[in-house]
């Protein structure tokens, strides 16, 4: 590492808080049957057009590829899989953990933006450049009442900064981090 890194403590704090926010909201969205599209890098122009990213979503071993590349998006295919489950489906979070990955994540920034120095001690600045990994363990409840089927699940994510949520012109309520990688398994 040529340049100074933020301390592990500050990275960990940012990652934990961001992961908490993500886990709280993401599963609430799924439990309400709403579209999770806003949580993925596909909702950021910078990350997709400049950074060339598409979310990588793998559900029980099946890789969402947008329905064979006929213009369908990865998230749309994921949503289709979710919808095919039927209702009601409820995610219950029993455990989750998060770790910082890259304290200087710059994919999606222009070269000029990448060069801009950022503080490695101010939490707000660290938060703007950090990518992190999250692993969630919980139960998936399918159906209700006496007919409920319980399945354990594990889900791993990598989240990266949502550039459009930063700065003065940022959209309010925009997600601060977006999912670039998601791996789901139910047991």
């Amino acid at each position: 590492m040529s340049q100074q890194q933020p301390s592990h403590a500050i990275q960990a704090k940012v990652a934990s808080e961001a992961a908490q926010n993500f886990v709280d909201n993401f599963y609430e969205t799924l439990n309400r049957g709403k579209s999770p599209a806003q949580y993925y890098v596909s909702s950021s122009t910078k990350l997709t057009a400049v950074g060339g990213l598409t979310p990588d979503i793998s559900v029980n071993g099946r890789v969402c590829n947008g329905g064979g590349g006929e213009g369908g998006s990865v998230v749309a295919e994921y949503e289709k899989l979710l919808a095919a489950q039927g209702t009601p489906v409820h995610y219950e979070i029993h455990s989750f953990d998060a770790q910082p990955l890259n304290p200087n994540y710059v994919i999606g920034l222009t070269p000029a933006e990448q060069q801009q120095p950022v503080s490695t001690t101010r939490e707000r600045d660290v938060a703007e450049r950090l990518s992190f990994a999250v692993q969630v363990s919980g139960a998936l409840k399918l159906g209700k009442g006496e007919d409920v089927t319980d399945k354990d699940f594990n889900e791993a994510f990598v989240l990266v900064p949502h550039w459009e949520s930063q700065g003065r012109s940022a959209a309010r309520n925009a997600r601060r981090y977006l999912v670039v990688s998601q791996n789901f398994r139910s047991f």
Binding site: M1, S16, N60, G61, V89, D97, Q99, L101, A133, A156
Partner: protein, 667 residues
């Protein structure tokens, strides 16, 4: 002291004083009403009677006195060894005393009908209360007020007692009753003393005289006879229900209740409204069953035919008492419109038969049947017409039941066997030699943490494991919520990770090569990882592996072995210069009680399509390529993918690849 007039104009139908600006200062009054609806409950009659009796009969232990509730209970237990049935008794009592007849009788008894208590009124604990008699209402100007001025009198007493006693709390009259010219009030012993001080005060053009009441309950005898009545009525209703129950058909026949000889003989329809009678019947029914299952087993059908029902609201409690009813006969009633059935639209979720033969709705609304069919997904027989088959119901339910996203084989999108080699190395090393494993793959920027999920499901025959040595280290964010604790439990840097791994119990994972079905391993490339060489400001590519499996660990002290399940996500990137070409950036371990993995490897199509099965056997050629790849990554700082491209171009001649790299870099 002059009466304070303004309150005479206060709203009388709502709770006394509620909503007025002064309610807050007279917390006692507000409190008495709190917890229940402000609206005066017209069914609260008997509740008040019995509890009022309880308030006065505090010292008398003979049967007629004591709390009426208590009396009821005593009678109930002595006459019948079944469960105490206070609720039903009250319900029955309400039936007898309820409705307009009751109001009439109460007025004739001189009981002020406006002082009815809400459902939330609780009988007063007789030992801590005192009953006072207040004279003066009959001569006051307030007696012509609506409600006879009682409310105004009570407000006056509470207010004056509070101020006269210079009290910090508000005096509260818990109960009041108008009997002839006298007002009986009950308050706590302490408050009663203060109220007595108001004796002789001027109020509404007269003087109030307050004396302590006799210890003898003024209406204790009435209460007990009422209670006895209640018991006998209840017994009769129970008998009637028993006669109308057909255990063979699991049918409760409540048809044409108006012609029931027993009910007529009991004079029930003079004493009560049909709705109240029905409610009482339902409560008695409900009491016969200890569990919802017992109820389902005993009664699946109810007929309410011929009861002149025009709105199911009149028999609303049926669906509360029998929510799982399967067959319902509402024939020969007066239901004219869907509106009359609407209250049950979202109830009766198990209903299969509804008979509405000979109701006016047949003529007035020809499409109501379609509507009913859509309301009740299990409805098959509507007035004798089959509207669905059992198969259709079953198919619809199956279609509605959510199904999990199906399992596919491993999603193992490896890059040049890097993942394969790592996982083999890792699982073996973690069991056999953790310090060396950490030294090889972890560096000062690597992170490790573990989280215990204690709430996972597990096979019923397996005892729940103890998590002793793990819990101290568990970083489950659901449980560990403070920044400090979360930071303490994140292990960063090779030495720290080595240290914590030494603390974890020794493990034995199933052999990856021969017991591959005990694992599910997914992996795919990922971009934007930290570049420790400092040569790629935009970050480097790597791989994320999430694998699930099991291991057995051994408690260092007890030597007891425990099987556990785990999920582990490891992010791999290119190693720092001079170190192993592959490094672990992040290692997130999640532990839970042992539960075998689903079989995903049977799904052969996915498994054979580029997946890791059969177990990783790294060919000599591949191993050599791997070495070159690592070396090129190390020397050039390129990521794995670029290094591979470079080597591919150079036909895997290392020096040529390196030369190509240097050429490109210069240009």
């Amino acid at each position: 002291m002059a009466p304070t007039g303004p309150r005479n104009g206060a709203p009388r139908n709502s709770a006394r004083g509620a909503g007025s600006g002064k309610a807050a200062t007279r917390g006692g009054i507000a409190k008495r009403r709190s917890g229940g609806p402000i609206r005066v409950d017209r069914d609260g009659d008997l509740d008040m009677d019995t509890s009022a009796a309880g308030g006065r009969g505090k010292k008398n232990n003979s049967a007629p006195a004591g709390s009426a509730r208590k009396t009821t209970r005593t009678n109930a237990t002595s006459s019948r060894p079944s469960r105490p049935t206070t609720k039903a008794s009250h319900m029955v009592a309400k039936v007898i005393q309820g409705g307009t007849g009751s109001l009439h009788s109460r007025i004739s008894q001189g009981i002020d009908p406006s002082s009815r208590h809400t459902r939330s009124s609780r009988p007063i604990n007789g030992t801590n209360t005192k009953t006072l008699i207040v004279e003066g209402l009959q001569h006051s100007k307030a007696k012509d007020n609506e409600g006879g001025g009682l409310k105004e009198l009570l407000i006056f007493l509470e207010r004056k007692a509070t101020t006269a006693g210079k009290l910090s709390h508000s005096v509260r009259i818990k109960k009041s009753q108008l009997r002839g010219d006298l007002v009986y009030i009950t308050a706590s012993k302490e408050d009663a003393e203060h109220i007595l001080k108001v004796n002789g005060f001027d109020w509404a053009g007269t003087k109030v005289h307050i004396t302590e009441a006799d210890e003898q309950a003024p209406n204790g005898a009435e209460a007990s006879s009422l209670s006895a009545d209640t018991q006998s009525v209840k017994e009769n209703l129970r008998t009637m229900l028993a006669q109308r129950y057909d255990p063979g058909q699991k049918l409760l026949n409540l048809a044409t209740l108006g012609n029931d000889p027993l009910l007529i003989q009991m004079n029930m329809f003079q004493e009560s409204t049909p709705q109240k009678l029905f409610r009482a019947l339902m409560v008695i029914c409900d009491e016969q069953f200890k569990t919802a299952q017992a109820k389902r087993d005993a009664i699946s059908s109810v007929t309410l035919a011929g009861n002149n029902i025009d709105d199911v609201g009149q028999v609303m409690t049926l669906t509360e008492t029998f929510p799982d009813l399967v067959h319902l006969d509402l024939s020969n009633n007066s239901i004219k419109e869907l509106r009359g059935l609407r209250k049950w639209q979202h109830r009766l979720r198990k209903i299969e038969t509804i008979l509405l033969i000979n109701n006016p709705i047949d003529a007035s609304n020809p499409t109501y049947k379609d509507e009913l069919v859509s309301w009740y997904p299990r409805l098959q027989n509507l007035s004798g017409t089959q509207v669905r088959t059992a198969e259709q119901v079953a198919a619809a339910e199956l279609a509605n039941k959510p199904t999990p996203i199906p399992q596919s084989g491993p999603d193992f999108r490896d890059i040049n066997g890097v993942g394969e080699q790592f996982i083999t190395d890792f699982i073996g090393g973690y069991d056999m030699d953790r310090p060396n494993l950490a030294a090889k793959y972890y560096d000062e920027h690597s992170h490790f943490s573990l989280a215990v999920n204690t709430r996972s499901s597990h096979p019923p025959d397996m005892p729940l494991p103890s998590w002793g040595s793990y819990l101290k280290l568990s970083r489950n964010h659901v449980k560990i919520t403070t920044t400090g604790a979360r930071q303490q439990r994140l292990f960063s840097g090779m030495a720290v990770i080595q240290n914590v791994w030494q603390k974890l119990p020794p493990t034995r994972h199933p052999d990856l090569a021969t017991q591959f079905d005990r694992y599910i391993i997914d992996c795919h490339p990922i971009s934007g990882l930290a570049d420790l060489s400092g040569q790629s400001p935009a970050g480097v590519d790597g791989m994320i592996i999430t694998f699930h499996g099991e291991f057995e660990d051994q408690d260092p002290e007890t030597k007891a072995t425990t099987k556990r399940s785990f999920s582990r996500t490891i992010v791999l990137g290119p190693g720092a210069p001079g170190r192993n070409p592959i490094r672990v950036a992040s290692d997130v371990l999640s532990l839970k009680a042992y539960n075998p993995l689903p079989s995903v490897h049977g799904t052969t199509a996915a498994a054979s399509a580029g997946a890791v099965a059969p177990p990783p056997v790294v060919s000599a050629e591949e191993a050599q390529k791997q070495q070159m790849l690592s070396e090129l990554c190390r020397q050039t700082g390129m990521n794995i993918e670029y290094s591979r491209m470079c080597l591919d171009v150079a036909n895997w001649v290392f020096d040529q690849a390196l030369a190509t790299f240097n050429e490109k870099r210069v240009s």
